[in-house]
Amino acid sequence: MRDPSPQATLSRRGLLRLLGGSIVVGLGSLAGCRPDAHPKPSASPHVPPGKDSAAATASRGPSASDVVVARVAGDERALIAAYDDAMSAHPGLASRLAALRADHADHLDGLLPGAAASLAASPAPPPLPGTPTTCCTASTMPGSALTPSGPASSSAALASVTAHLASLEHSAAAARVDDLAASPGSLARVLASIGGCEASHEALLRAMT
C-alpha cells in the first residue's frame, strides 16, 4: 500500500478548487452525474482574468475544456481497465500495480468527482461525440486472454504485461501534452501534472522487469 502521508495525495476538494468550481460543475452536468443543473454564475467573478475566462462559457454547453476533460477521463478509465486486466491475468503483479491503478482513479475522481467510485458498478458512459480517446485501448492487453496457465506466470509474460502498460502510460503522457493548448490555465496545470504522473508510471513499469 501507499504511504498515506497527507502530502502524498491531493484531496478531491482541493483539486476542484484548483480547477475552478464552474468548470467542474459544467462537466458534472455534462456527464450526467450531477442532477443540479443550475450552477451559480456567481462562481465566475472569483476566476482570475486571463485564460480561465473559458470557465464563464460553461453554461452554454460543452466548452473546449469540457471536451478535453471528457477525453482525459476516457483515457483514465481505459488505463484503469488495462490495470484491472493485468492484475486479473497476473495476480503476482497485483500488489505492485495497485498503486499505479490508484493514481489513475485519483485522476479520474479529480476530473469527474465520484466517477472512480462508480467504475465497478456500471460500465463507463459512451464518450462524447467527437471525443475519441487518444490512447489506452485495453483490448490488446497481453495475457488478458490467457487460459489459467498454471501457478506462476512466466517472467516473459510478466515482462510483456509491464511493457504493454508502460506503452499505454507513454501514450497517455504524450496525449496530456497535446491537450494543453485547448485547456484554460488552471486545467492545463492539472493535466500537465497528470501527464507527469503517467510518465513516472512508465519509468516505474520499465524498471519492474
Binding site: T9, A181, I194, C197, S200
Partner: protein, 153 residues
Amino acid sequence: MSHADAAAGPATLAGALTAIADAENAAIYGYARRGPSLAASADRTVARGYYDVHRAQLQAVTGWIETYAGSAASVPPPAAVYSADGQAATATPADTLAGLEEATAATYADAVALATGALQRAAALALQGAAIREAHWRGQAVAFPGLVGRLPT
C-alpha cells in the same frame, strides 16, 4: 523575486520562469550537497546524471527567460546556500532529492498554467522529467506531481 500565493502560483509568466530558475539552482545545489551521501553506489551514479539534467534545465530556462520574459525579468543568480526548509532533520538524501524534484515540478506546473504554444509544451515535458526523478527517489509515483501540498486550506 516575489513569492505569490503558494497554491495559486506566480501571477505572470516572467515570475513563473524566474521561479523555475530559482528551483533549478536549488536542485543543483541539493544534488551536489546530498547526492554523494546516498548509500548505494548505483544511486550516486543516478544522482550525478540527474545533477547534469538540472544544469541543462537551468540553461534551457535561461533561454526561456531571455526569449519570453524580455525586460520583465532577469535570470536570478544562484544563492550561496539553500536552506532545507520543510525538510525534517532526519530526512534521508533520497527524501531531500525527492522534495527538490517536487519543488521543481511545481514551478513547471505554474509555467504550464501561464504559457502557451511551444513554451507550454516544453514546460510540461520538463514537469514529466521531474516527476520521473521524484518517483525514482520515492520508490513510487505521486498522483499529482507538482501539486503536492499546494492546496488552499
